[in-house]
């Protein structure tokens, strides 16, 4: 079972698709109002990669990044399945509770 931050990271990476990499994922997570340090991001990415829920590889360098490479992220089939399971569990657990019906 995923943790909350792991689910968030997988969801954002899935939504970004081909453009999923460290800085973009962090920006999206912070846009949701949740703080996301680089330390938390990359240690979670590593953990998910070890569980084979994510794949990462080195991407292109851009002038915007001072000529430094990106770490690209892709959600695997297992990652999507784990996120689906987490989502279903949260939805089931939320049925009938006051904050879910507002």
């Amino acid at each position: 079972m995923l943790g909350e931050f792991e689910y968030l990271l997988i969801s954002v990476a899935a939504r970004l698709g081909e453009n999923a990499y460290g800085a973009a994922i962090r920006e999206d997570i912070e846009a949701m109002g949740r703080s996301c340090s680089i330390g938390a991001l990359y240690t979670t990415v590593d953990r998910l990669e070890k569980k084979r829920l994510l794949e990462t590889w080195m991407g292109d360098a851009t002038p915007q990044r001072g000529g430094r490479a990106k770490r690209m992220v892709r959600v695997t089939k297992q990652g999507a399945a784990a996120a689906q399971e987490f989502y279903n569990s949260v939805m089931r657990a939320s049925q009938g509770v006051s904050w879910a019906t507002k």
Binding site: G22, T43, M58, A61
Partner: protein, 222 residues
Amino acid sequence: MSSRASLLLDLTARMLEPREREVVLGDLAEANAGALESVSQVLDLGIRRQAGLWTGWRPWLTGPGLTLPASFCLMGVSLSVSQASLDGGLTWLLTQMSLLLGWSWTTGYVVGSLSRRTLWASIVLCCWPCLVCLSKFHLQALSPLCLLWFLIPAGLGVRHGLRGGHISRSAAAVITVALILAMLISWHGGAQRWWSPPLLLVDALMSWPALYLLVRQWRSVC
């Protein structure tokens, strides 16, 4: 970002592996992060990475498990070599020198190859006993620096280990056999070293890096 802040960021980023350093500094540049934020973000990741390393067995084995006790023992052997050079026989001197070289180099190699990213901790755990013993050294016939002979072969061993230097199975076997012979001669001579710990206990502690090398090379071939 000022040059000082940039230098501080570069120094902090050395906590990270080169590939990760590139990625993180790129992310920070893309996010237009300020100097303070960049340093704190890199520091945060570096501390998390170090903490992650210490959840494994390697840093504990090579740091408190090997470097700390081995430093005390190797200072004793260094002292024995210096003493033997003054008033011991040639056999005793050669035996002690062989043990000093073999034990120091193999210990350094194992520390360097098993705990690259926590080497700083092993260095601290080596320096601490050295400083304690240097401060308490009071033999007039010898210089306190004679305690530190072991640092030269140990440093060479660490360097070889850090570079991932290969040791052939036959070289590992020769080192191990030479050390065992030196220990047997040392026991046969019946002479107690200058320092007090039981010989057998010290020899067992100091021999496992060589045995580890031998077993590792043996398994890599099989």
